[in-house]
Every structure is written in C-alpha cells, then in structure tokens.
C-alpha cells in the first residue's frame, strides 16, 4: 500500500484516540439512565443540571478556582521578578536556581505531595487550604518562570536604558516598557498555571482534608460512592471551559506562540 493511503488512516486513528474519550464523555453525560454508561440510554439534561445541585461540587469548584487563580497570581508575583533577575543580572548559580525552580515539574506529584505533607504541613500544622495554596503555587512557579523567562530573553534590555534616559526611573521603566512587552508571555503563563493547578490530582490528594478538597479529588470520591452520569457531565463542562479559555487565548494573544 502507498503512503497516500496510510496517512489518512493514521490521522483518523490519532484523532479517534484524542477526541474519542471526549465524545464518549459528552454522550454519557447526556444519558437519561441512572448509571454511567455508553452508549447513553436515552437523551436528557438531568445530569448536567444535577451537577449544579450537588453541594460538594459547588464547594470544591470554589476551592479549585481559588487555588488556580490565587496560586497562579502568587506564582507570577514570585516568578516575574525571579525571571527578570535571572535574565538581566549575573546571578551566581543561575543555572542551579533554574533547575530548582523547575523541579516540581520533574519530580512526580505523588512524591511532592507526600513530602509536603510529611515535612511541612504536619510539623508546622498548616491549615488545609493554606497548605494546598502553597503546594499549588510551587507547582505553577516552574511554568511561570519558564514562560516569562522566554519572553524576557526575546526582549532587548537596552530599551530599559532608553526609557531611563527619557526620564523613567528604573522601576518605572520595568512597568512602562518591560511589562507591556512580556504581557503575552505573562498571560500564557497564567493560562498554563491555571490549567496545571485545576487538573492537579496527586499533590491535592495528599493535602486535601475534611471539608476542603479540590474539584478533581471531589469527583474521585463522588465516584466511589455514586456511579451516576453527573461526573461525566461535570467532566464535559470542565472540558468546554478549558476549550473556551484556550480558544480566547489563541484568538486574542496567539497563545500557541508561547507554549
């Protein structure tokens, strides 16, 4: 057989594996039946509506949003100055610092979670939400530093000196000419951080506790007890939310340039 015939078949298989689960989830969430099943038994929106009625989903969605948005903002507040220092000044051991900052990506989440629990949360008696917040910030920080560093590297540093000579203070130059030019990178880092935090399971699993859990953890425990299609409906809603964010980011920022 020729390549001309292979290529479309391979493409079709890849797309099936990528999009297939998504279609199954959407279909399952529209089922009228009592249990999670595919193909769906009849069509209905009852499980989509149910998602919004489950109290624990509402609470854990709030926690997840707080961690994703708050954690990302905090990681950027730490990460932007760090990236700036690493790219503009001769920092001793810059490479080591970069490696350490990236380590939460490399080390498996389950180990990070256990380590945080055993050596920080328990000895220092952190509150659950505070511990989750710190853990998520740490997990997002590598993305913040990486993406922001990349945009800073592409930005010439002499424009800051030019701004100073035109009357800006050093700090003013940062806000007037550096920030506007790395805005795209910062937003890309925000989206990556948000998605990373929102989808986080292993670390959150260790640090969640009574009354405070993130949405993915809540979904796991919900499924252990009830096997109705509302989890599928919630998954589908979350997938659409992510799609929407990425679509807007691409539309207005050319998100794919940064990732």
């Amino acid at each position: 057989m020729s390549n001309k015939l292979y290529a479309p078949i391979i493409l079709l298989l890849v797309l099936t594996f990528l999009i297939g689960p998504f279609i199954i989830i959407i279909a399952a969430s529209l089922s009228a039946g009592e249990t999670l099943s595919f193909p769906p038994q009849g069509l209905s929106l009852r499980w989509v509506i149910k998602v919004f009625e489950v109290e624990s989903f509402r609470a854990s969605f709030g926690v997840s949003m707080f961690l994703a948005i708050g954690g990302t903002i905090f990681a950027l507040i730490l990460g932007i100055p760090a990236s700036y220092a690493l790219s503009r000044y001769k920092v001793p051991g810059a490479e080591t610092i970069r490696t350490i900052v990236s380590s939460p990506i490399i080390v498996p989440g389950i180990i990070v979670g256990l380590a945080l629990l055993r050596y920080f949360v328990v000895p220092f008696n952190f509150g659950i939400l505070f511990a989750l917040f710190l853990a998520h910030t740490a997990l997002i920080l590598p993305y913040a530093v990486r993406v922001v560093s990349a945009s800073l590297t592409n930005l010439r540093s002499d424009i800051e000196e030019a701004a100073v000579l035109l009357g800006c203070s050093r700090v003013g130059a940062f806000f007037r000419v550096v920030m506007p030019n790395i805005r795209g990178g910062i937003l890309a880092a925000f989206i990556l951080g948000f998605v990373t935090s929102f989808n986080q399971v292993p670390v959150s699993l260790f640090l969640s506790g009574p009354g405070v859990r993130t949405l993915p953890i809540d979904m796991l425990s919900y499924m252990e007890i009830t096997y109705d299609p509302s989890v599928a409906a919630l998954s589908a809603l979350l997938a659409f939310m992510s799609l929407g964010i990425v679509f807007l980011a691409e539309r207005f920022l050319g998100f794919s340039r940064y990732v």
């Binding site: 930005l155 010439r156 002499d158 424009i159 000196e161 030019a162 701004a163 100073v164 000579l165 035109l166 009357g167 800006c168 203070s169 000419v177 506007p180 030019n181």
Partner: protein, 344 residues
C-alpha cells in the same frame, strides 16, 4: 563657563569592578560641537559615552555640563539624549508614541505634545509613518525615530552610539548628511562613538582618538588625517608604513637603516601612507609580493630589507608583476613626523 567648556570631563575614572576602563580622563567639549569619539573596540569610547549619559557612575572625577556638576545626577534627570546602536525603540508603541514617550513623562500634554512630536517626526522626514510599529520600519527609519525621540527632549548633549554601523553603504551616506543637518539646524552638542575613521573624518568638527582608555589625540579631521601624533593614530588613519626613528636612522626588523632628510629633534617616529612611497626610483629595493587594483590606483606589497612596505601608484602606469624587483624611496619631507611611538 565659556562655550568651549560646555561639557567637561575632569579626571574622570571609569571602572568595571577592579578593571579600570578609563583612567583620569580630561576632556572639554564646546557648545554646538559635533565630536567623534574614535577608537578600536575596547578603547573605552562606549564606556565614556555611557558615563556622560549617566548609565555608569565614575569611580572618581567629575562631569560638568553647562556649568553644573552632573556627576551624581541620575540618568533620568540628565539633559542628555542617547541614540542606541540598536535604536532601542519600544516595540509595543508606534512611532508617534515612541517619540512622545519622554515628553509625556516630562508632563507635556495635549496640543503642545502633539506639536512637538509632529515637529520631531518632520525633522527626520517620518511624519507619514506616525502610526507604524517599529517592526514595520526599515533600519534607517528606526534610526530616525530613535533620533527624533531623543531630539524632541531638547537635550543639551546628544550622544550617538555607532550611528551608522547597522546601515548599508547607501543609507550610511544619507544618514551622515542627515545627522549633520539636524545637528547644524538645532545647534545641539553632538558626540558620536565610532570605530570607523572614514565616518569620523567625514562627519565630525573634531575627533577624539582613544586607545586603551586614554585619549591618544584630539584634533580636526585635517589634523588627524595629516598630522597624526603617534604610531597608533598614524596606522589608524592609513599611514601603513610606520617606523621608529633614532637620529638619522629608522628602526627596522633588520637593524637600523639610514635615511636622508630633515627631521625634527622631537620626532620619535616616521610614517608614510602607501601613496607617499616613491616607486621606481630610490635607494631601497623590494620584491613585489602582492598587488591589487583599486580603481584609480594600484597597490603593491613589497618584501624589503626594511620589512614589508605598502606602496601605491597611479593605475595608469604599467603594472609590475609578482616577483619583480622595484626600487623605491621613503621621502622624509612627505612623512608624518610622530611625537610618540610605542602604542602600536
């Protein structure tokens, strides 16, 4: 304060950590002058320029501008403009906003702001490009925007870092004329840094030749071109045959060689341009090791008992072949008599 001491560097020392880049520099620049800081890379010319701009603080000494000591005045408060070699335009702002940047910080607003920005753009011939982003402009246009951005601030001194080095040959000539015109029209004191002697000779009222952090010679283009004071300056402006002189001899690789003619007692060296070497007649002999045709002239590289000699003669004369033995002379009356040697 007189006009000839508009900008004064007094015993200014610049250093990077423990490395002294420019020791004890003294320099006076007059009001409205167009001055070139000329020298090879690493001679301290850019460092000196950055110190005048305030981007670098002198380790000691003073910088006085228009009667005011500005040594400790921060860069953003100095009435000094700088056009960067890379132009350093703000990529997120359009041409108009780039030029308006400094004026806005100064608190200029409304129609006054508009007028000054438009005037600035008109001066450099870019009024129709006001809404373009820097990335949409050619190198020459970016250079003009950068010039306008500094000029609208009405600085007392305008510094330019290698203003022509990123432009192609044709634009370079155009920009050279442009810079001279802007300088003469505005009367601003302009100092530009360059490693290109042709650029310095063509544009400047006065040239400051720098080497290893000190000033080697200051003079008009004619002075520098015709009367270099040291072997370094001589070599830099095209005296390619440079010798140390002792009494009536010049030192060569093969021992001292007697030379006839009147030489000042103070002269430490003699230098000849290739065109000053008499070819075809004279007390010395050399073998042709290379020739090249340069339009109006033909250049020869000769192997001689004095070492290698570069000579040049009219291209209409018959060409000498590789390996030919030619007589030549180094006429003392044509030579540049150097007051210092040893810097090469």
């Amino acid at each position: 304060m007189s006009d000839s001491r508009f900008l004064c560097l007094e015993k200014m020392t610049l250093s990077y950590g423990k490395n002294v880049a420019v020791p004890d520099m003294d320099l006076d620049i007059g009001k409205g002058e167009l001055v070139a800081l000329l020298g090879p890379s690493g001679c301290g010319k850019t460092t000196t320029m950055r110190a005048i701009a305030g981007l670098m603080e002198p380790a000691s000494g003073k910088i006085v501008l228009d009667g005011t000591d500005i040594t400790r005045v921060p860069a953003n408060k100095r009435p000094v403009g700088l056009v960067f070699q890379s132009y350093a335009l703000f990529p997120h702002l359009n041409v108009y906003e780039n030029v308006a940047f400094g004026l806005k910080l100064m608190g200029v607003k409304g129609s006054e702001l508009d007028k000054r920005v438009i005037d600035g753009l008109k001066t450099v011939g870019l009024s129709q490009y006001a809404t373009r982003k820097p990335a949409e402009l050619s190198g020459g246009q970016q250079q003009r925007v950068s010039l306008a951005r500094s000029m609208v601030m009405e600085p007392k001194v305008l510094l330019l870092d290698e203003p022509l080095s990123n432009l192609d040959a044709r634009l370079r000539l155009e920009m050279r004329t442009e810079l001279q015109r802007v300088q003469k029209e505005s009367g601003v004191t302009m100092i530009f840094v360059t490693h290109d002697q042709v650029e310095a000779l063509a544009m400047a009222d006065r040239i400051i030749v720098m080497l290893d952090g000190h000033i080697e010679q200051i003079g008009t283009p004619e002075d520098i071109y015709n009367h270099p004071v040291s072997d370094f300056v001589a070599d830099f402006v095209g005296f390619e045959n440079v010798f140390e002189r002792v009494g009536n001899t010049i030192k060569t690789a093969n021992g001292d060689v007697a030379i006839a003619g009147d030489i000042d007692d103070a002269t430490k060296g003699l230098a000849w341009r290739p065109s000053m070497v008499t070819l075809g007649d004279g007390p010395f002999e050399g073998t042709v090791r290379g020739t090249s045709f340069a339009g109006g002239t033909r250049e020869y590289l000769l192997d001689t008992p004095l070492g290698q000699i570069k000579a040049e003669c009219d291209a209409s004369l018959p060409a000498h072949d590789f390996g030919a033995v030619l007589k030549f002379d180094l006429p003392v009356h044509k030579a540049a008599q150097l007051a210092r040697t040893g810097s090469l």
